[in-house]
Symmetry: C2
Subunit: 398 residues, 2 copies
């Protein structure tokens, strides 16, 4: 058993349900916050639990460079390393290789690149990406694909798509041969369990209130990771259809739509997503990668996407850009300097319940750490609440 | 009524009790975390409450420059501005004028200085410091003193001490004439109260769990701020005695020992503190400014100091220096890269309960925001726990 989608309600093309993973259930459609290097920037795991985060994303490229797969593997995998017993998804590392490395060299074998940290040389192949992602031990891992650049001509889109399909087969082959190597079962009792033993006399559970009712960190020994395939094909609807069908033919427990939000117009993104969704099996989870604004995640969830991730809420927060029910707020503006109102009167997050716009504006203007923390809490809450609303909308119309 | 110390137990020179302030009771001896610009860097007010912080310190110099006293005053004072309904103490601004400004010019009238932010020219006098501190509205405010540099010769120590005494009289005179201007009563309902009205139907209380049982933000209209005097006199025991006696003669509801931790040897600090304490009235709170390490705050509390503040726990945390029951830990060290143990096995903070040294080391090495947040939570907990232990020790031996 790896992951399984239980669809409990549908409304038009949309579906609401539960994604069952080795580390707990995830209400879908779901937005997954990005925890690039093993932390959602500035937000403790306690706070993520309180926000209701049930799955988060880790970046294989970043974790591979720092702290390194071997360290994470020895510590029992990413869940244990970062003390997060809910679900995790890792990307393949490919996107960062392509977006952060000017000097990458892509061949049939894989991608050679230099670290953005120290310039050291590395090579990522489908097999290597699988090896790293098995070592990191996320519940859901992604096939190593080539994210086709935009714009690209027809020949380039096809050859890139064909390579991604060949890479998908190599990923699946490696994964099936090595999936038992996931470090979930091999770990030693660590900080958490030792503390717990002291506190509750050996019961193996998570110390925080939020985690206490979510079952043990130890997972069923028979459970494994799930490898998702990724549909490419550039902005060509026919290639997308072919990529989807041939990826489904290879066979994965879930399918992602990749290669979007790479500079194309928003309307084109939407066209490609909608046309690709038609060719994905209804019973399997559908993951739209790297999207998007609050409006977009709601629209795509209504169109039948089950999972999305994006750095937008967290990154924008650190730049003082906040999403509210009244539109975007750039909190740095002087107009908020003496604004006693909450950031978003309709929001129920801890930040809006307690602080004024004037205070948030001051924290940002004074470059206080707390600005980044509070802004991130609010934006994540806003994204998660958006998805809660969509789920309720689906169930109400089912 | 401003503040009042209720001594409930003594052991040798040490005393344990409660400092009653217009914004709640404070268990003494107490360590006060520093919230320089209206926030303890990286730590939300919810988290401060959970840590058990009952009083924190704001820096008048920083708040005067940003967001400015007028903004804070219009928002109802610092408590309301930062949504903190427990006690606050502000320093006089003098220390930062002397330590952050190479180009300051001190005269009998006051101190001219340039902002470290934009170079703009400002002037701080005893009256101006009082005006600002009344506008900020902390529960305890400090007389504007001259922090005598170290080393200084006898003539310089005396003249500086004499000026601090004249400034203390001017502070008291201004404060007595203007203390009714504190903005506690003048504020409009702000974000918090409006949110609260929505949630609990108009009951005026604090939204967070930690604050709920601590009474209303609105304070007794008859209560006022308390102005504390500051003893100077350099490193000369006789001058310290004279400064103490003449400051007590002016008459304040509490007394601080200033001008220490300015570069002198630790043993000299200790000598001056102990000899000064003898000349302070037993029934009034005694505040040792800017001290110190965990060992020092325990020692000084045992010697009869009631209040201390220091940037050390928060600043050291941001530089990866952590205080533990096993000594100092520099978490950046490679030796912790695969250390699965908690930072401090004897610590009960959220960080030690959940995360490994390996994870904390990784966060620090990867320059993740969360490193600063978690490290600060731990160090503050360690300081607060140190004081809890001292209080228990006093009560046990009473």
């Amino acid at each position: 058993m790896s992951v399984q989608l239980q669809i409990e309600a549908t409304r038009g093309a949309a579906r609401a349900g539960k994604l069952i993973t080795p580390h707990g259930e995830v209400e879908t459609p779901v937005f997954m916050p990005v925890g690039t290097v093993g932390s959602v920037k500035g937000i403790s795991q306690d706070a993520l639990e309180e926000l209701g985060v049930e799955i988060l994303l880790g970046n294989t490229y970043h974790l591979y460079l720092r702290p390194g797969m071997e360290t994470v593997r020895k510590m029992g995998g990413l869940h244990r390393f970062m003390s997060w017993d809910r679900a995790i998804l890792t990307d393949s590392g490919g996107f960062q290789v392509f977006s952060l490395n000017e000097l990458r060299k892509v061949s049939e074998e894989g991608a050679a690149f230099r670290s953005h940290l120290d310039g050291s040389a590395h090579f990522l192949s489908p097999e290597k990406s699988m090896e790293i992602q098995i070592g990191l031990g996320a519940d859901i891992i992604m096939a190593f694909d080539e994210c086709t650049e935009y714009p690209a001509d027809g020949a380039r889109m096809r050859s890139s798509m064909e390579m991604t399909l060949r890479w998908a087969e190599r990923c699946k082959r490696y994964f099936e041969a090595h999936k038992q190597e996931v470090p979930w079962g091999s770990r030693q009792p660590s900080a958490i369990s030792r503390q717990e033993e002291r506190v509750v006399g050996g019961r193996w559970s998570v110390a925080s209130a939020g985690g206490a009712d979510r079952g043990p960190l130890t997972t069923d020994q028979s459970s494994t990771q799930a490898l998702f395939g990724i549909v490419q094909g550039g902005m060509d609807r026919e290639l997308r259809r072919e990529s989807a069908e041939r990826t489904v033919e290879i066979g994965f427990p879930g399918y992602a739509i990749g290669g979007l939000s790479v500079g194309e117009p928003r309307e084109l993104t939407r066209e490609v997503v909608l046309s690709t969704l038609e060719h994905l099996p209804a019973e399997k989870p559908r993951y739209l990668m790297g999207v998007g604004t609050p409006e977009e995640i709601a629209q795509y969830a209504q169109a039948g996407v089950d999972m999305m991730d994006c750095v937008l809420p967290t990154r924008a927060a650190r730049h003082g850009l906040l999403f509210t029910s009244e539109g975007k707020v750039s909190i740095k503006q002087a107009r908020y300097a003496q604004d006693e109102g909450p950031l978003d009167p309709a929001c129920e997050c801890r930040v809006c319940a307690r602080y004024s716009r004037a205070y948030l504006r001051h924290l940002y203007a004074a470059n206080e750490l707390l600005a980044q923390v509070l802004n991130t809490v609010h934006n994540l809450h806003y994204y998660l609440a958006t998805m809660r609303t969509v789920r309720a909308w689906i169930r109400a119309g089912s």
